[in-house]
């Protein structure tokens, strides 16, 4: 350390260790104004890799990387902005969005298929123990409630990145509310109520367990329960044990995922709307008495499987919307930002999802029909059409909801249920006996689809507009 490096406590040290008595950093090295300006230009080019785009950018760079006082930097800055430099850059690559929604769809899909399979396989043994009508009643209560709760849970918790951690925060309150508002009133219903309550707990708990990534555990449990029922184990004991086990696994799943997160749960009004929409979808499934849940053995539960798998694949594909539309618009000039294109990214994803749903449902329905003797009569083509229509409507309503077209979603869902009920009433009062299973369901779902499609097509045909006004403004 040489003497010249020593300061007097009131100064500025420059690059070679000398102190400047005035306490201000010079903009450039010693020399003329032109040299200062060249130095400043060099600093800016080195820092930005281009000229400054405006005087404030130049000022900030000079302040931060030369230590120039604001006034000095501001007075130098105007000379450093090139008015004929037209900045261009390659279109930035857009990162793929988080996979949380897709994970949630997968989990939900697996749970739903397993739930349906369990209903299908339990129909005969449970009908034997409780009687077919009691079982049918129980399913009619349980299915809409379970689907409603699953939609609501997904909207508020399970569709989020830290789903179970967030759910864990509200878990006790949610369980208490579910017990008081759903399970207890349900259990009080004569005969079928307690069975419905166990179904709801098993199916909704299954959704949480699957979201935890323990779908295999859940599936194994259902298989064991099915074998036990098949071997004439008492239905009450099996359902009770299964409910208890599902809830315990659910609790363990939540407790072991209690990591700290500052992510918030989804909004309550939105979750309530999702619950309502899920309830309508579930109600559609049970409002048509021609379906006879539980009365006719495996029929019609098995008939649901093709459409559920189709719906799952279609829904999974549809979530690409959030990635594909921004990618499709990257680099698109402003002049095309509001033009309509039926082959644009929005419509292509939408149509792709619909095709996947319909195609899968048709192919799998044909397979199920071919093995109809094994599935105890689940071979009525109208049933496959009915469930396929519900799946399609469910996809459309889900999309409307996720685009925050809430009124349209609600209108479509409510109109579908109303049309289904009205059709059945009309047929019954007019004395026309329809021997087509699921006719009312087809009518209801078709009405819902007719109402849901126009707002979606109008929006999705204009990819730029849908991104700006709908996807990014909820």
């Amino acid at each position: 350390m040489s003497q010249r490096d020593r300061g007097n406590g009131n100064g500025h040290v420059n690059g070679n260790g000398r102190l400047n008595g005035n306490g201000h950093a010079p903009l450039g090295g010693p020399g003329s104004e032109a040299a200062n300006s060249a130095y400043a230009e060099g600093v800016i080019e080195a820092r930005l890799g281009r000229p400054a785009l405006d005087i404030l950018e130049a000022t900030v760079v000079l302040e931060a990387w030369t230590g120039a006082p604001a006034r000095s930097a501001m007075s130098t800055a105007p000379d450093l902005v090139s008015s004929d430099f037209r900045p261009r850059d390659a279109n930035p690559s857009l990162e793929a969005s988080e996979d949380r929604e897709q994970q949630s769809v997968v989990a939900e899909g697996i749970t739903l298929v397993l739930s349906i399979l369990s209903v299908a396989a339990w129909a005969i043994p449970l009908s034997r123990d409780y009687g077919p009508h009691v079982l049918a009643h129980a399913i009619r209560f349980a299915l809409p409630i379970a689907v409603a709760l699953q939609w609501g849970l997904r909207s508020r918790y399970l569709g989020r990145r830290h789903a179970l951690a967030i759910f864990g925060r509200d878990g006790i309150a949610f369980c208490a509310l579910a017990m008081l508002a759903v399970e207890l009133p349900l259990a009080l219903i004569h005969k079928s109520g307690p069975i419905a309550a166990t179904f709801v707990a098993i199916w909704v708990g299954g959704a949480i367990v699957s979201r935890r990534g323990w779908g295999l555990v859940y599936a194994t449990t259902l298989v064991i329960a099915t074998i036990a029922l098949d071997r004439h184990a008492p239905a009450n004991l099996v359902l009770g044990s299964l409910t208890a086990f599902t809830l315990i696994v659910c609790m363990v799943g939540v407790l072991t995922r209690r990591q700290s997160t500052d992510e918030r749960a989804g909004s309550i009004p939105r979750a309530l709307l999702a619950t309502l929409l899920g309830g309508c979808t579930g109600a559609l499934l049970v409002a048509d008495p021609t379906l006879g849940w539980g009365v006719r053995g495996l029929h019609p539960a098995v008939s649901l499987i093709p459409s559920v798998i189709g719906s799952f694949w279609g829904g999974y594909y549809l979530w690409n919307l959030y990635d594909v539309i921004p990618r499709g618009l990257s680099g698109m000039p402003l002049a095309s930002g509001s033009s309509a294109a039926f082959r644009g990214p929005g419509m292509s994803i939408f149509l792709g999802a619909m095709l996947r749903l319909v195609g899968t449902t048709v192919v799998l329905s044909a397979v199920v029909s071919l093995i109809g003797h094994w599935t105890h009569g689940a071979d009525a083509p109208s049933l496959f059409v009915a469930f396929g229509s519900v799946a399609l409507l469910s996809l459309l309503i889900g999309l409307l909801e996720s685009l925050a077209l809430r009124r349209a979603a609600l209108v479509a869902a409510a109109a579908a249920v109303a049309a289904e009920v009205a059709w059945h009433e009309l047929a019954w009062r007019s004395g026309i006996h329809w021997h087509v299973s699921g006719a009312a369901l087809i009518v209801g779902a078709s009405v819902g689809m007719l109402l849901a499609l126009p707002p979606l097509i109008v929006r999705l045909a204009r990819s730029g507009s849908v991104l700006a006004t709908t996807l990014w403004i909820q």
Partner: protein, 525 residues
Amino acid sequence: MSTPSEAVIPLVRDRVDSTPETASVEPIAPTAPISASAHPTPAAIPRSRRSRVLMITEGTYPYAVGGVSSWCDAVIGGLDHLDWDILPIIAGGKRLRQNFVLPAHARLLRSIELWSEDAPPRRAPRPRRRGSGSKLPSQLLRGLLPWEGSLTELTAALVRCRERPQAVRREFRDSDSWQEFLLALVEVLAVSSDQSAPAPVYDTIEAARLYQTLYWVARTAAVPTPPCSLLHVTAAGWAAIPALAHKAIHGTPFLLSEHGVYVREAYLASVNNASVSLGQRHISTRLALGLTRATYAAADMIAPVTEANAEWERGLGVTPDRIRVIPNGIQPPTHWTKAPGIKKVIAMGRIDPLKDVQTMLLVADEVLQRMPEARFEYWGPATSGQEQYARACERMHEQLGLGERFRFMGRTADPHGVIRNADLVLMTSISEAMPMALLEAMAQARPAVATSVGGVPSVLSGCGLIAAPGDVHGLASAVVTVLDDPNLAERLGRRGFERLHRRYTLARCVTGYRDLIGELVNGAA
């Protein structure tokens, strides 16, 4: 749904993560010892005669811990002859813990959450005014995006949002609004200015991002604000939006406190983020500039914490008579302690590109070559979102082979203790306004070596050494100079301690605000 434009105008970047901005990780007790005058206690003034101040914070008080939050707490606690309403603006989708207990004369209003899923405010519709006929997005665009936006259009748009909040979402979700916005955007981008290069070419994604940000500007303006005698805004960004609408409607006096210059920070953030497109950079800086200009135009008084900020304010057109520098202050200890003499250098602050930790590592490397017995400690966590930078610093630390001689220590709950056990405080930031770490060093009578940015030269005048930012050799020489000469170190430290007592005490800061707020409120009355 989360969308990618949350970073278009940063919500007071780096403060929303509840991490300390500087060494002050503990809130300052709200009971600031004010000796300036015998002001009546809260109970002495009838509630009906007490003035009510609406303080609007942005990503800070009372949720985050840091310099701005501590300052808010001290000012509110010290000015108990006023009633305070606190309206925080925070990033949505996150749960925040309240880190400060509000005193009895302060009331916390419901936060405005940006990018949240919550529905916008609703109110009974008022009769539509005859206006320009433009839709909200285009009107806000013309007010905010041009180099010199139309303040008239902006004010009219913000007032529209406040008066008809239920129309905000509907207008923004209307495809006609989007079409009109695109046309207006093309026009605005074509306007040239001699102070800026031509605007970059936007694509539809960038336009959609801008559109979404303007929606949040509109939603922020739509939130109702309670009646008050004074609007006190703590940053010229998002926090100013509700105040701009309020002032335009009620004419309430408007005070802006600037800890950092908002537009300057937005520019620095964009310069430091090489991954954003030129379009995004243009959007973020222009919106920050638009908000800053509007805030400067509306504010009756601006109180920067340092003269360096005042330079920016004057540069952006604020007349000197509307600027009053009120430096930050801390509660100083009554006596100072001797340095341990172990050649320990500490730094306090977040691990963030603005702190230029990499330069600090290079400085440490050079110092250690010249003085192997020296030791360095860096206290503070990585800023949320800057984890990659923190990892790069760790890699650099490894490459330089600094080992245990330079340690990253993480958070501390006792910044004063940390400084007391050191011989020197080092700061290599490329941007600072009035760093609390330096005030804390002065409070403990420790010398500081720092970069000549923002208000640092004026704070350290006579009690530390400064060098240009990024000047590794200059900074290292200064560190060696001080460590090598205990007498010089003690002299600098003592001068700092005395200077702090003279100029940077909390009482002085609170008194400055008491006088200023009194003038504004009484002037309006």
